[in-house]
Structure formats: C-alpha cells, structure tokens
Amino acid sequence: MKLVQLIVVLFFAYSTGYTTETKNFGQELTLKETTPISEILKAPKDFMEKTVLVKGRVLDVCQKRGCWMKIASDSEFESILIKVDDGVIVFPMEAKGKMALVEGTMEEVEFTMEQTIERQKHECEKEGKEFDAAKVSKPDVMYRLRASGAEIEM
C-alpha cells in the first residue's frame, strides 16, 4: 500500500511540475524586460504601484510558509523582499541560492520603532553580528515587491 501511495504522490508531483528544472509560481510572467533591482532601490517611490520584472539570486526564503523571499540585487549589500499572500504562492526553501525572475508591483511598508528593533536584531543574529538597539534612530520603511508570478531555476 505504501508503494502504491508513493507512486501516486510521485505521479502527481511530476504531472504538476514538481520536478521540472524551471519552476513557475503564481501567474505567468507578462513582462519581458527586467528592471535592475539597484535601479528600483535607488528611487523606490518612482516605482510605486508599477509592475516590474526583476531578476536575482534567492538569498532567503520564509522557512515555514514560503510566503516571502529575498532576492539579491545586482549591487552589493542590496536585496529586495518579495512578498506573496499566504498559500497563494508558496516559495520552497530549495529555491535558496537559485536564480529567480519575479514579476510584481512595488509597495511601501512602514514599521513601528518596536518592529524595526526586532527586525534589525533578527538580521544581526542571522549574520552573527552584535546588535545595539541604541543605534536604531528611526523606524524602517521597507519597499517590497508584491509578487504575482515567478520563475525559479530549480
């Protein structure tokens, strides 16, 4: 019975594209030209509510729900957060380190001081750096991409 279940699971996983090399998530990409992430981050307000296609390496993925991922910019030290609604698109952790094309709309998120400290503390812990809450002087404003679709080279 276990063998039959395994065959059924593998069959459906395969038929739904689970094992293909480039995996599609969400809606099909409509744009052909990519916008460099550095260009967006240089003047994010210029891109608000605009649909863009970005390309970059996946730096991080939401571990439990796959509801966000971070894409590396074409410039050092930069990345952009890609957000999706829970369950609508689920990014797998296997995407980490892979190249991704993501289409979506830019949006602005304002954090409270408390949230800012928590976020920066978490980032520092992740990178093994020391965190000093006293150095946080103003709340973060984040510009992120609300994704409608993505293609990841798995």
Binding site: M1, L10, Y18, R57, L59, E76, S79, K126, E127, G128
Partner: protein, 187 residues
Amino acid sequence: MGMNWMKVRRLLKILHRDIGYLGVGLTVIFAVSGIAVNHIEDWNPNYVIEKKKVIIEDIPAQDEQKITDFVLEKLQINEKVQGWHKTSKENLRIFLDGQTIDVNLNSGAVNLETVTARPFLREFNFLHLNEPKKAWTWFSDLYAVSLLFLAISGMFLLKGSKGMIWRGTWMVSVGVLLPVLFLIYFS
C-alpha cells in the same frame, strides 16, 4: 417503496465501499499533512533545518571567489558552489545545494544552515496545501466531494436502531454540536 429503498441502500453500500477504497491514499496524505501543518507554530512541517556555528581564523581579504574557496576548504566541503552575495560589508553568503553559509569577514564567525526536506511530509504538504494548483485543484475538489458523499451516504447504510432512527441521529448530532461548541467558546 420498501424494495426501492433496499435497492438504493445496496447501491449506496457499493458506492460507499468503492469510493472509500479510492479515498484511502488521499485521506492518509491529507490527514497526516493536516496534523503536521496544524502545529506549524511549534515545528517546521516541511524541512529539517540544522544550524551550526564555527569560527574560521585569518580569512583572507581577497575577492569573493577566493574567500569562498578558502572557507569551503577550511570546512572540508567539496561541493559545487551555486553562487554568493555580499549581504553587507562584512557578510558573505555562499550557496551550496541545500546549504547556506554566512561568513562574517571581520570576526570569522561562520553560520552554516543545512535544509533537508522531510521525506513524505514535504510531498504530502505540497499536495494538501495545494501548492501545485492547476489540475490538482480540480482533483482535490473531487476528493472533497467524494468525502461529502461518504459522510452523507454513511448515514443511510444501516437500518433499524443502529441507523438514523436512533444511534445514528444521536451520534451525528454530537458530531455537529462539537464544532458549534468550539465556535461558541472561541467567539
């Protein structure tokens, strides 16, 4: 009339039995995955994530390729590098298949994160949470309809006091009442 009802019941029994058999595999997948994702706050139902911290001394101030080679040699890792990115002035993130290595270029602190998919559970959750979309959406809808059929037909399989005349009515009522009580409690 009595004869017709007997025929209907016989047909219901056959359908209930065969649809039940067909649903075993999916029921196992959905039930196991259901328990797994129900406790998502306490554990990761899809992946085992192992973290390790080491210190590497004297990391050379060179380009990323050379630093990567140096770090992997020190860690005795002989795997293909997928890429890297400098996430900050002092942090280099190196990607291997299923492994991420964060290297603090100043302190030499190295954080290794290894991600392994939980066998079966990852696949079960993939299907249960409808990650594939497409045809799977319709197929799982069909499964949901078949569960409805099993629930409703199940009420009419037995006649007499063990059927809906007595025992069945009571037990179905309790089954309906329980979620209602939870709703009242949590509202």
